[in-house]
């Protein structure tokens, strides 16, 4: 059985239909297609005058277009705006053609350009749902993006905190391991400068921990002032520091710098209840002293040099030399050694309250 449709019914089902007669003259366009151009634009004009076909390629005759039935069409308006349309064609009984068209991917542009409304689309057309989805997705993506930014900032802050000594703002032991591993990977030459404060325990004992904290913050600042961008400053323990001097292996020059560092650290430091004075012992160990090196070995050797400096008396600088006795890598033994040293401490320079 054949079904015949009134034009109005066809326009409702396919608001972008286009009908051409056997000669290729346009005899009718659906209401939404009509909206895309001025009144009278389509009627009586030749299909191929108004549209250029991209698929099938450059088709120019009604007969050729009829052959294209069942294949996807792609066509443009010849004048501006050259909106691209897609669709398909069916042959009518009278030799004419019926094209059903749509805006395809360019529907968002078309809606803006031709000021289209929901009623311009067939009920079965999912364009409205697509529009909805696009807007909802953009809103959701924006919310997700904001969350990602906040999480990223929080992660950076947490990492920064995890690698920072909260009292002095210098790096901590965890950061030290990372930096040494990076230098190892990249084959960077460097010198380790181990710094151990002298008379610090006395400050803590006689003037209190608050004063001790002020001293630690002060010496951290002094060390920062005397190092460069590429150097890494680490507080390794209570009054122990380690500086990784990247790219510097000239021990003669570094010995001089270490001496200057000690002189700077010996300047009296103002604390809330007066002033106090500390000094420092420094051990040096450079990667240039070895054919190859490992992080653990470098740390042990700079520790041995620092231990030698301590034994040589206060305020000494000692560079590592083979055969130096390690202070003992074992943390417990090291703690014992530190305690023994603190007990015997009472040299010429002392922490003293003013007046």
């Amino acid at each position: 059985m054949e079904m015949k449709l009134e034009r109005a019914a066809l326009d409702l089902l396919m608001p972008m239909n286009l009908q051409a007669d056997a000669e290729g003259l346009i005899v009718h366009v659906g209401p939404t297609l009509e909206k895309t151009r001025k009144a009278g634009y389509f009627h009586g004009f030749r299909l191929f005058e108004l549209f250029r076909f991209k698929r099938p390629r450059e088709v120019l005759s009604i007969e050729a277009l009829r052959q294209a039935a069942g294949t996807p069409l792609r066509l443009y308006f010849r004048d501006d705006p050259q909106t691209q349309l897609r669709g398909e064609v069916t042959a009518a009984a009278d030799g004419g053609l019926l094209l059903n068209l749509s805006f395809g991917l360019y529907v968002f542009d078309a809606i803006r350009h031709y000021r289209l409304h929901a009623s311009d689309f067939a009920t079965t057309d999912p364009t409205m749902d697509m529009l909805y989805l696009t807007e909802a997705k953009s809103a959701a993506m924006a919310a997700s993006y904001e969350l990602n930014l906040r999480l990223q900032a929080a992660r950076i802050a947490a990492e920064e905190q995890a690698y920072t000594d909260t009292l002095t703002g210098l790096k901590n032991r965890r950061a030290l391991d990372l930096v040494l591993a990076r230098h190892r990977r990249q084959g960077t030459a460097f010198t380790l400068m181990g710094i151990d404060l002298d008379y610090f325990k006395r400050v803590n004992d006689t003037m209190g921990h608050a004063a001790g904290d002020v001293v630690l913050q002060h010496v951290a600042r002094l060390m920062l002032e005397r190092t460069g961008e590429t150097d890494t400053l680490v507080r390794t323990g209570g009054d122990e520091f380690l500086i990784i001097l990247a790219g510097q292996t000239d021990l003669t020059a570094l010995r001089r710098r270490a001496g200057e560092m000690i002189a700077a650290l010996e300047t009296p430091i103002a604390v809330p209840d007066g002033q106090c004075q500390v000094s420092a012992s420094i051990g040096l160990c450079s990667t240039g002293q070895f054919n190859s090196w490992e992080p653990a070995q470098m740390l042990a050797d700079v520790d041995a040099a620092l231990y030698a400096a301590k034994r040589a008396g206060r305020s000494q600088v000692v560079a590592y030399a083979p055969g130096m006795e390690p202070s003992g890598d074992d943390p417990e033994r090291k703690a014992e050694r530190l305690n023994a040293r603190a007990a015997g401490e009472g040299g010429a320079l002392s922490a003293r309250p003013s007046r």
Partner: protein, 194 residues
């Protein structure tokens, strides 16, 4: 509860009563004053606590707070996308009402984890409808009343709305249509920002 819902509750309190009000409510409900993240999921009980704390702080019945929230969702400039998305439901207020049962599925297209109330519109007579609503946030029908009242304004329609007593675990909203939008409503252009 999805963070989007909690976050809109937080923004409602902040935008309507000020940042101080939100801080007080957050403290009373034991919520991080920094607020909710829109794209995370929270415990349902937290939402109930915030609503209760807000009602206590504002010294208003909970139902009024929820109705004001519904109004806020579709009228505050910060939430213009919500109004726009709802307007996709149809060209008239009645079309919009009929689109409500698709709303949860539409929302899930965009945010798969977003669980919205199941809604069903039942015609009562020529000019009246009943909206059945099933959800796990008690009193949600009051949010709907605020939202529908504002959307009716948006469409330029004149309606009477009231919450009917709940039955069979469903909340009900009665809708009586006086005029389906011959007064001029707010404009709605399909092209966003255009």
């Amino acid at each position: 509860m999805h963070g989007l819902i909690n976050k809109s509750l937080q923004c409602f309190l902040r935008d309507t009563y000020g940042a101080g009000a939100w801080a007080e409510v957050a403290q009373a409900a034991d919520v991080d004053p920094a607020g909710f993240e829109a794209m995370l999921i929270y415990d349902d009980a937290l939402t109930v606590d915030v609503v209760a704390a807000a009602a206590a702080f504002l010294d208003k019945p909970r139902d009024c707070v929820l109705e004001d929230l519904g109004t806020y969702l579709v009228s505050h400039p910060n939430l213009e996308p919500v109004r726009r998305l709802l307007r996709f439901g149809g060209a008239t207020f009645v079309d919009f009402l009929h689109s409500l049962d698709e709303m949860p599925d539409r929302a899930r297209l965009a945010v798969p984890q977003l669980d919205l109330p199941r809604l069903e519109l039942l015609p009562v007579d020529e000019a009246s409808y009943r909206l059945d609503c099933e959800w796990h946030l008690p009193g949600f029908e009051h949010v709907l009343v605020g939202l529908l009242r504002t959307m009716a304004d948006d469409y330029g329609a004149l309606v009477l709305l009231d919450c009917l007593p709940p039955s069979d675990g469903l909340a009900h909203v009665g809708i009586r249509l006086i005029d389906n939008g011959y007064a001029s409503g707010r404009s709605f252009d399909l092209a966003a920002g255009g």
